[in-house]
């Protein structure tokens, strides 16, 4: 069966006064129906930009889509006319962004904003439309949904507003839900409830999910597949268990190692990844992480490594010239 989403050789650049920013570099990956993909990365990793590019939400200029295809249910989103893309956004593909306050219109009621999405993408009217709106707020766990429909965004708390955003994102039973740092601004207790909710919705509606975050804990809780991005490229990708148990990219390894251990008062110092995130207008010629990588070889600094299969689990891939487990084992022997 063809994958639900198939991104091929996507390259996105920005023209800025400081030079050309290479935001996404020859990115390719596929997403199967029903899969939950957790994308991890920090500023400049390309994790958000590539999503905006395939949804047609990047202003051009300054952005420039240099090459690439994004096949969604067989159609190439990159070559679709604006009108057709608008039908897909909010319809077959639902979106939830980070800041619920700036994504909602402050002068329209929640009901009005939900209705807008539903009338645009479905044939519902009258009583059926109203029933669906109430049902949606109920699904995302907003108490008294009927009364809440006539309220404005400021009358909702941060967590409740994010639930409204999720309700809007999934209003038309999307095949694919994309969430970009959707819980980052929320309290941990609220985040836990939202993650529960997404898991529930996945199970009930067989939704496919892309969850973009910088929190390894959230990925571990939610995702089937993890994709670690840096400098506009995939550094490592695979089923969550093997990637967390035995990371193959020095960047993934560093991210996991820099987290405080549990029962951490005995830990003297946190591991720190040296250096700073890359300047995207002046990326190094080879592996973008090489300047910060203690295991980097000359080849890493010279040549971009391709994504290749590693380990025993199918789907586990890494872009690295080095063999991390072997290097770590040698390191351990050298310093007992």
């Amino acid at each position: 069966m063809a994958p639900l989403l198939d991104i091929r050789n996507l390259t996105v650049e920005f023209d800025t006064p400081g030079g050309t920013v290479q935001a996404v570099n020859d990115l390719s990956y596929t997403l199967e129906a029903g899969e939950t993909l957790g994308i991890v990365g920090e500023s400049g990793s390309g994790k958000s930009v590539h999503i905006l590019a395939l949804l047609g939400l990047l202003p051009q200029p300054p952005a420039r889509i240099v090459s690439g295809q994004a096949l969604f249910e067989g159609k190439d989103l990159m070559s679709l006319p604006d009108r057709a893309l608008r039908d897909i956004r909010g319809g077959r593909i639902g979106m939830v962004f980070q800041d619920p306050m700036s994504s909602l219109n402050p002068v329209l009621t929640i009901g009005r904003q939900l209705r807008e999405v539903l009338t645009r993408h479905t044939d519902l009217t009258g009583v059926a439309l109203k029933r669906r709106m109430v049902e949606l707020l109920d699904i995302v766990g907003i108490p008294h949904p009927e009364a809440r429909l006539s309220q404005y965004p400021f009358e909702f708390s941060g967590g409740m507003r994010q639930r409204v955003m999720i309700a809007i994102g999934m209003a038309c039973n999307p095949r694919l839900l994309i969430a970009d740092e959707a819980t980052t601004a929320l309290d941990v207790t609220v985040q836990a409830q939202i993650l529960d909710l997404v898991r529930q919705l996945k199970a009930d509606f067989d939704m496919t999910v892309i969850w973009i975050t910088h929190d390894m804990g959230v990925v571990a809780e939610l995702a089937d597949t993890i994709q670690v991005m840096y400098g506009g490229r995939i550094m490592e990708r695979g089923p969550v268990r093997p990637v967390f148990r035995q990371p193959r990219s020095a960047y993934t390894w560093g991210l996991l190692k820099s987290l405080p251990h549990e029962g951490a008062r005995t830990q003297k110092r946190l591991y720190q990844i040296p250096g700073a995130p890359p300047n995207m207008a002046a990326l190094p010629p080879g592996d973008p992480f090489a300047p910060r990588n203690p295991f980097a070889t000359d080849r890493c600094r010279r040549e971009v490594p391709p994504l290749r299969d590693v380990g025993s689990e199918p789907g586990h891939q890494v872009a690295a010239w080095y063999d991390l487990p072997a290097l770590l084992a040698a390191d351990k022997e050298a310093t007992p």
Binding site: V188, T189, L195, G217, A220, S258, L259, Q272
Partner: protein, 304 residues
């Protein structure tokens, strides 16, 4: 036992109320309510809680950046709440603050060297070449190249900007720093660098911290004791490992259960929601010591 560095007792701060020329007065919100804690020399106290629980207000009220309505703040035994701004200036040398957003805390049109040296000038401590030398030493201390002194804030990354803010905060050799979510806005790979810097500064300068955060795993690593706030009240305060091993207040329990664990083999089943609206801590309930150093807000206050 020696007296603590900082002793906060029964601190209160509310907003709203009062009289308006037109319309009804805004409702009174008790941002912090009967907050008491102490911090020893060189100690780090973590302050956690949901947004709007009063964490930041507490930090600002302790520093007298915001006048508390009632309560005492004693720093090395000296009462600060009644002092005028002029009298407070002497204490400001010893107490500093670091904010969450490292960029908006900086002046975009001031070279960072001057920004870091400004407190030394304001307090008349150094000038001329001595000032330059001291600023260069501060840059060294926080891991920045002193050659960067003549650059502007926009030339730095987020982590470097936070280092600049830290350099300014320690310029006057304070004994106590309020760090208000200092790593929240930073990239993950940079957070560990800044947390390690805090540790180093504490070891070298004997600093005490009030570390306001919502990342509990970092708090566990960095803090000797933790206070949990809910709707303006401290509901639990204890040595860090005691909080993690034996959380007593239901809010603390739900907070700890909600931390996402970076291990796919330890996925949690459903979380039980904590209904804040139904569990607003009663204003008169006392903190009860359940084991040495471990205090919990009395929960069945109304039933008692």
């Amino acid at each position: 036992m020696t007296a603590p560095l900082l002793e906060v007792s029964n601190l209160m701060r509310s907003y709203g109320g009062g009289r308006r020329l037109f319309g009804t007065p805004p409702p009174v919100v008790h941002a912090i309510n009967d907050v008491s804690f102490s911090i020893g020399e060189g100690e780090t106290l973590g302050l956690v809680g949901e947004s709007g629980s009063g964490k930041s207000t507490t930090g600002r009220a302790v520093l007298q950046l915001e006048k508390p309505d009632a309560g005492q703040v004693r720093f090395r035994g000296q009462e600060l709440t009644g002092l005028t701004n002029k009298q407070l200036q002497a204490y400001r040398q010893d107490m500093q603050i670091i904010f969450q957003d490292p960029y908006s805390a900086l002046n975009p049109r001031m070279k960072v060297g001057r920004f870091v040296g400004e407190p030394l000038v304001v307090h008349g401590i150094a000038s001329g070449s001595e000032l330059t030398d001291r600023v260069a030493a501060l840059f060294d201390l926080v891991g920045l190249d002193p050659a960067f002194m003549s650059r502007y804030p926009h030339e730095f990354s987020g982590g470097q900007r936070q280092r600049i803010n830290i350099a300014r905060a320690i310029a006057l050799e304070p004994a106590f720093i309020v760090a208000d979510e200092p790593i929240t806005a930073l990239d993950v790979s940079i957070q560990a660098q800044i947390v390690n810097l805090f540790q180093d500064l504490q070891d070298e300068l004997g600093l005490a911290f009030l570390f306001i955060a919502h990342d509990l795993s970092m708090v566990r690593y960095l803090c000797q004791r933790v206070a949990v706030m809910l709707r303006g009240r401290i509901v639990e305060i204890a040595p860090t490992e005691m909080i993690f091993a034996d959380p007593r207040h239901p809010y603390t329990q739900s907070l700890l259960a909600a931390i996402p664990v970076p291990d796919p083999d330890r996925r949690k089943p459903h979380h039980t929601a904590f209904d804040v609206a139904r569990n607003i801590p009663p204003r008169e309930a006392p903190l009860v010591e359940v084991s040495p150093g471990h205090f919990v807000l009395e929960q069945n206050f109304f039933q008692v």
